[in-house]
Structures are given as C-alpha cells and as structure tokens.
Symmetry: C2
C-alpha cells in the first residue's frame, strides 16, 4: 500500500503549525479523485475554510513538497493534488477535460538524455499530453 504522508510532521519539519484549516484542506486533497481548484477545495472543506486560507495552505503544501500544482489544458485556474513524481505525467482529454496519469520511464529517458548528452540536470520535467480520451473518441464504449 501507498505510504501515507503525516501532515503534522511534514509541517513541523519545515517550521509550520498544524492548524484545523490545514488539516481540513489536506483531508480534501487526500480524498479527492483528481485535480482540484482552490475553490473546489474550499467548497469541499468540512468547516468551509476561507478561500484565501485555502490558497495559503495549498501554496504551503506545494512548497514543502507534499502537494503538486498544475495548470491543465486550457484551464486558467491552477489545480492541486497530493504530490506525485514528474514521471507520472498527465494526459488531458481536450474534449471532456478528464485527466489520466501515465507512468513508465518516458520522463526518465528525457532526464537521462539531457544529462548524458548535454550535461544538464533537470530539476523538473513537466510533460502534458492532450488528445481525445477513449471515452470521447469511441462513444460506443460506454
């Protein structure tokens, strides 16, 4: 099973407090299936955490590395999720907007090529592919 992140210790390690709001925001992120906007997080929060505080929490989580922020598709709002490595990249359906994750060594290959052939050590590799997802391209397959 997947290691569960201990929010309290992660925050402590970076010199921050564990507040009820942060805990609630974290709970929403953990429970959500996908990539949420700050507004969605705020809405799903147990006690209705203030939007500005949600932004602050999400920003903090991203800074300390337990959450990941991305801008997907044509979307103008940022979205967050529990952190996952770059290697698991995003495939965004340009019809319905659904996002799938794709693992494998494709991203590693990019890193390796840049390092071996160009002496460049990639800090982050952001890869996002768009196209029609199976549900949208083949309407018959329910």
């Amino acid at each position: 099973m997947k290691e569960s992140i201990d929010l309290k210790s992660q925050l402590r390690q970076h010199g921050h407090k564990l507040t009820t709001q942060r805990a609630e925001v974290w709970e929403v992120l953990k429970g959500a299936p996908g990539h949420l906007t700050a507004e969605q997080v705020a809405a799903d929060t147990a006690s209705g955490v203030n939007l500005a505080s949600v932004y602050r929490a999400l920003g903090l989580f991203t800074d300390i590395g337990i959450a990941r922020e991305s801008r997907l598709g044509n979307d103008d709002a940022a979205r967050w999720e529990v952190a996952h490595p770059d290697d698991e990249f995003h495939i965004v359906c340009r019809s319905c907007g659904r996002v799938e994750h794709h693992g494998g060594d494709l991203v590693q290959q990019i890193r390796t090529h840049l390092s071996n052939s160009h002496g460049f050590e990639a800090a982050t590799v952001e890869l996002a592919v768009s196209g029609e997802c199976s549900r949208c391209s083949d309407p018959s397959a329910a």
Copy 2:
C-alpha cells in the same frame, strides 16, 4: 533558410483581414529573439497597438497556427512566439528565466509510445524542463 510565413495569405485562408495592427504585431513576433508577453509585444509595436488588440491578434495567430502560446516557469503571464513544433521543447532556467529550445526525437518517442502501446493519438505534447542553465550553474564561464 527557413520558410517565411506569409501573414496575408494565412489570414485570408482563414477568413480574416490583414490590418496594419496585425502586421505590426507579426513583425514584432518575427523580430523578437524569444518568448514575449502581450505587453512586451504591444510596447515593441511600431505604432503602439492597443493592448486588447494585441491580445486579439496573438489569439488569432495562435488559433490559425502561426504563433505559439506558452506559460513558462512560474510566470503568470502568457508568452508568444512564432510557431514551432512541439518536438522542439522548452528548457527554462529557474534562476535567470532564460529559455532554450531543444529538438531531437524525444517528443516523437512519447507520441510513438502512446500510440503503439496505448492506441492514444496525442494532439499536443507539451514538454517543459527546468533546471540551471549553463550560465547560471557555472558562473566562471562568462
């Protein structure tokens, strides 16, 4: 030498007029070394084209495929350049913000893998790598 795009015919083909403002915006894009914000384009424009009109022109150029829009690094403003294929991806220095282009077949490999192994035809592949550029990581190399 690189084929030069004929703005007038590209616009005609898509049912749009060639205006002096569009010509000026295009001139700026063609002449610019890098990736420009709408504000920068407006500023560099011969007759000071209005910012809203610059946005409209850049949006149109992007729609008809002769310009490319990207959001690089932590930057919150969109940037434009004369269109180039996805295969030439972006390497962004997280210290100085400089952007380099990197060609090769890495992006094609991604497309091929997704098609062969998953029957997924990628419409766009957006790849952006971050790290320290040579100038920033090795200060001695002037």
